[in-house]
């Protein structure tokens, strides 16, 4: 048992850091560092650079064109990217639909879809939730009726992240309305340019636009776009969620968040002293750091057991729950740190190159929007209550 990197791992870490420093455009790095909004082109430029290096789909095995990283390499890669202020990799293609296609798709589908995901030339989005089907996903009603060699899709999807930038959407659709809820669902790939698709923005509490409602009005989708067997889409859906579980703890991002919080607590004053010297506040940060360390070592234990050919054990089930709570706690304490200067609402400042004059400290305007926005982490990907239900059933057998 050894915490230290092997010489090979250290060499790999140096290689990753050198690559990120040489290839992450400075303007994108600045935006991430200063909490500015990123646009589609920012993500694409960075992801295409990673794609050329073969690292964009860093979780994929070699036989599907991934780099075949060891678990330790995954950990190193994720941490260094975060430390160097690289944007998060958009997961919809790389971590969600890609693995579904290489696991359940046919050869034609693999040939058609995988390379554009590896190279980031196509932007994917997800069509899972519906207005009437949130936590109870299997009750979804968007229907796909077969007519010849096409499905005709009608219905709507919601909480669709970044669909306004997407080229393709993967959807869960109902193909057999008479079957039991889970048994009549299929997994369908749909070109966003198909006639009949409308994307309507949903503006969030922080004033930002990152999610949409997507409407399907007699949308014609070739039967060739069905992944896996008809009415067996729930298998793909479950696989995708399990696959997602490991990368959802967001430890590297939270480490960065804690460091930013400490910087703010050093800059803020409290009775004439830096806030970080306030014992009560310092202990809140300490407690947060300890929670984050526990999460990190839980993830490391899981990675280690995978490296030895084992499956991640029950320890990973709690990662999403705790990881999301920690992300929220960081924003919570950051709000506490800036105090009343979190109040001025200056959304223009969230864009790079804004001429708007900041009010108060330069970091203050983004603190409240981030606090409000981060409430999503305990809701998306299956709310934490749903996660606990899954753990209770699958792990504890209750």
């Amino acid at each position: 048992m050894d915490l230290a990197f092997t010489p090979e791992e250290q060499k790999f870490a140096d290689e990753v850091r050198a690559f990120v420093r040489a290839n992450l455009p400075a303007d994108i790095r600045d935006k991430v560092k200063n909490g500015k909004h990123l646009i589609r082109d920012d993500y694409m430029r960075w992801q295409q650079a990673l794609g050329k290096q073969g690292w964009l789909v860093y979780t994929w095995p070699k036989k599907h064109g991934g780099p075949g990283f060891t678990p330790a390499q995954r950990y190193i890669f994720e941490n260094i990217c975060a430390e160097e202020y690289a944007p998060g990799i958009i997961p919809f293609g790389t971590k969600m639909v890609g693995p579904v296609i290489y696991t359940f798709g046919n050869d034609e589908q693999k040939a058609k879809y995988l390379e554009p995901i590896r190279a980031s030339t196509v932007w994917w989005c997800q069509g899972y939730s519906e207005p009437g089907s949130g936590s109870d996903l299997a009750s979804l009603r968007t229907k796909a009726e077969k007519q010849g060699d096409h499905y005709i899709v009608n219905g709507s999807k919601t909480w669709n992240t970044m669909g306004h930038w997407a080229d393709w959407i993967f959807c869960l659709v109902r193909t057999d309305p008479k079957a039991k809820p889970q048994e009549g669902i299929s997994f369908l790939l749909i070109d966003m340019k198909t006639p009949g698709i409308t994307v309507k923005p949903i503006i969030m509490a922080d004033g930002g636009h990152e999610v949409n409602e997507v409407f399907f009005d007699n949308v014609k989708v070739p039967v060739a776009n069905l992944v896996g067997k008809e009415n067996e889409g729930w298998t793909c859906a479950k696989f995708l969620l399990a696959n997602e579980r490991l990368s959802i703890a967001a430890v590297p991002q939270s480490k960065r968040g804690v460091e930013a919080l400490k910087d703010i607590a050093r800059a803020e004053q409290d009775n004439g002293r830096p806030l970080i010297e306030n014992q009560t506040f310092a202990e809140k940060i300490a407690d947060l750091e300890i929670q984050l360390t526990a999460l990190e070592y839980t993830e490391l234990r899981a990675l280690s057991s995978m490296a030895h050919g084992g499956q991640p054990g029950p320890e990973v089930s709690g990662l999403k729950v705790r990881g999301s709570e920690i992300q929220q706690r960081i924003t919570d304490l950051t709000m506490e740190a800036v105090g009343e200067y979190a109040a001025p609402y200056l959304p223009g400042l969230l864009w790079q190159g804004s001429n708007e004059e900041p009010v108060g400290p330069s970091y203050a305007h983004q603190v409240a929007p981030r606090y409000f926005n981060t409430r999503k982490t305990t809701i998306y990907g299956g709310s934490n209550e749903i996660q606990k239900g899954i753990i209770s059933k699958m792990v504890l057998g209750l």
Partner: protein, 380 residues
Amino acid sequence: MDLSLSDEQKQLQDAAERFVRDKYTFENRRKIAATEKGWLTENWAQMAELGWLGMAFSEEDGGYGGGPIETMIVMEQFGKGLVLEPFLPTVVLGGGMIAKAGSKAQKESLLAPMIEGKKQFAFAWLERQSRYNLADVSLKATKEGNGWSLSGHKGVVYNAPSADHIIVLARTSGSAREEKGLTLFVVDAKAKGITRRDYPTQDALRASELTFDKVSVGADAVLGKVDDAFGVVEDAVDHAIVALCAEATGCMDAINAATLEYIKTRKQFGVPIGKFQVLQHRMVDCFTNAQEARSMTLMASLKIDDKDSVVRRKAASGAKVQIGKSGKFCGQSAVQMHGGMGVTDELSVSHYFKRLTMIDLMFGNQQHHLTRYSNLAMAA
């Protein structure tokens, strides 16, 4: 980077698991706790034979070249069985301090027989006013010819009734709470001038209040350097904390397993109570807490011998905060979910709960270590 156990470590884990299964069924433990000294000579002899008393010490010191990971493995299983033999005071604390600060002669006369199972220790540091401050020591040692004379009081000294030697933290110079001026003495437990009041603890261990009235010891009783014991003590206590964390992890696994079993079988309103969502989520929280405790224990076991003292101390305190928090959550939840049965002596649950509660108090509770961690993080 590799966090998996080696083959030897897996064998150690199996052996410790087997020991607990064979020797520490709940009924057996009850019998052991009721004996006069509160532990069994035959069990101690078996631990010596299995090499556990020497596993964490270097081969130079007569040990088997293991370290904190080996201690973690064994302590975790001890936690599952609520093992009563005095491994922590004798091996982790006593043995640890002798290995770290002892002379060649002391290692030969104390450590070697300890590894063979022939000597036990107790560590007397706490005083009535000390709370968790290791430097708040007023028991005085004054020069007396070539040797020393010790006078004062020590409290809640675990294993003092069985120990062959008491390792006493005494003030040889400086003022109250000063880190400089502390010295460790290895004192024969039967030395003239020591009075003991023995008692059982809440969790069925044995401890004593000790009064030292002009207890004379030779110059060779000094462990390490005169006036300079604080670093040795702090380091030994941090190692003990990490070992306790491993024990607590084992307790949490056991208490969670018992609770899960109970809510699957106990029926109310016509269904097993584990069908109720509010209990399901609480049970999940218990498991998550135990996983976090295990992760922090592993982290601390890996870092407790780090070169950087800030890293070592933060590791121990961080783990102790987690164990305090998780232990309380799992313990209190287990009792609550067991309902009235949880507060009886009859089930094991209350016994695990008592041990977890006492572990939080030992060497600084959750709040104490949160403050220590926070101060260390600030200083770094």
